[in-house]
Amino acid sequence: MSNFFGYQIHNDRQINFDNNDLYIIKYVDSLEPTLKTCISCGTCTATCTATQFTNFNLRKLITMLRRGENNIKEEINKCMLCGKCSLVCPRGVNTRNVILAIKKTINYFNL
């Protein structure tokens, strides 16, 4: 019945960068400083075992955190910590440690 009139209301998909709080990514950056040099190339995601079977996407997850879109608590658990991403990163980001740092940050701020 919700669609009875043939239209529905969507939430705003726009990222409002003025209102978003970047405290999560700043804390993650402090735990793993190499993350700052990420250029979003997606090599980590291309090699990721979890990405083959789930919609987990490390490149996108980091991009979202950098924009202050911090709803990643469920996403991060899809990673199996195999560490393949760390082997392939062209900028030498310790991506496996990034995942651990994000998990620590989630606990620290009690998300």
């Binding site: 998909r13 726009q14 990222i15 409002n16 960068f17 003025d18 400083p33 700052k36 040099t37 990420c38 250029i39 979003s40 490149r59 996108k60 991009t63 979202m64 950098r66 924009r67 879109e69 900028r91």
Partner: protein, 352 residues
């Protein structure tokens, strides 16, 4: 045998080519419309990727023309150029005098103009006070003035828009201007050094860090200065009631539209063919390519040679170039002209 060469434009290319031709014992006359030599280099405080001062390069070039005894004529306006067999007769005005001079070869080093950002009306340059260009920002750096908003406050957030007037069919410039990406990174670093508390955001389509040390500079901007790079072309800018600038962009890597306010918006303007090039091109009958820059006899191998025998090119009049590229090109042009003047058989080579 001593020959006369006229070089039009005393920018980087003109000065360095004059130095090399002068050092080969030729008679070199360097004509400049401005009061002083140096071209755009005069307006640039520090240079990528080393952040060395532009005036160091300028004095290096000036020392060259002095040693090579180049006859530099500033405030010179060219009225017309005629060709008689292999000789050019250049008529120019200098200090209320009209002078005719005969030359065996002409080197055109008329450079580029910066893109007029008012043509991209959606970014609000010339409409909103807090929208400036990379050239305006450089002027602030050169004069040592503080970086402030139109109201006089230090900015907390500054945005850089890449590719303004480049890679854009809407303004008729489909080519990449080559230097703006790295200029953006350089200026972002300079701002962070002057205002460490200010957040800097760069909105790019591609980061073209092709040159030696450019990529290292980009990484340094991320790692040491915390500059944020957002992939997406800004679609429009509008003014908030407090005078800050609201920009809309797609964050293409997040696949989501994004809006944010910045206190100052810097437009990284590209290269366009210069008015001087158009003028000289008309006088000499020089061909231009699809992008409006001079067309060289061959894109790979005859890059200093024009469609008119005896007329040569160097520098940014044929395509956007970095300072490094321009200096190299100027020396190549000098060598090409020297061989042309001695009727060297290497000019018999043809490319099909």
């Amino acid at each position: 045998m001593k020959k006369t060469i006229i070089i039009i434009g005393a920018g980087i290319a003109g000065m360095e080519a004059a130095t090399f031709l002068g050092s080969m014992e030729h008679n070199v006359i360097l004509l400049e419309k401005d009061q002083e030599p140096g071209g755009h280099l005069k307006n640039w405080q520090k240079l990528f990727p080393t952040l060395r001062y532009g005036k160091e390069i300028l004095s290096f070039l000036q020392e060259g023309i002095k040693i090579a005894k180049v006859d530099l004529k500033c405030n010179a306006i060219i009225n017309n150029i005629t060709k008689n067999n292999n000789t050019f007769i250049v008529n120019y005005s200098h200090q209320q005098q009209e002078i005719n001079i005969e030359a065996d070869a002409i080197l055109v080093t008329t450079g580029y103009d910066t893109f007029d950002a008012t043509k991209k009306e959606e970014y609000g340059y010339g409409i909103y006070d807090n929208v400036i260009t990379s050239a305006d920002l450089e002027k602030i750096f050169t004069t040592g003035k503080p970086i402030i908003t139109a109201k006089g406050d230090p900015p907390k957030k500054i945005g850089f828009v890449h590719c303004v007037g480049s890679r854009d069919e809407k303004v008729g410039h489909v080519y990449c201007s080559k230097v703006c990406c790295v200029t953006g990174v350089k200026q972002a670093i300079e701002i962070k050094e002057l205002l460490p508390q200010c957040d800097v955001f760069c909105f790019y389509m591609d980061m073209r860090m092709y040159g030696m040390h450019f990529e290292a500079m980009y990484k340094k901007a991320q790692e040491e200065y915390g500059v944020t790079f957002i992939r997406g072309r800004v679609s429009e800018a509008c003014e908030n009631i407090d005078g800050s600038i609201l920009i809309k962009v797609e964050d293409t890597l997040a696949a989501r539209p994004l809006k944010m306010s910045v206190d100052l918006l810097v437009l990284l303007i590209g290269f366009v063919p210069s008015e001087g090039s158009k003028m000289v091109g008309n006088m000499l009958g020089l061909q231009t390519g699809v992008n409006g820059f001079y067309k060289t006899a061959d894109q790979h191998a005859l890059t200093n040679i024009s469609n008119v025998p005896g007329v040569f090119f160097a520098g940014a009049c044929t395509s956007p170039k970095t300072i490094t590229n321009t200096i190299t090109d100027a020396r190549a042009a000098a060598s090409t002209i020297a061989r042309y003047l001695e009727n060297n058989p290497i000019f018999q080579r043809k490319l099909t």
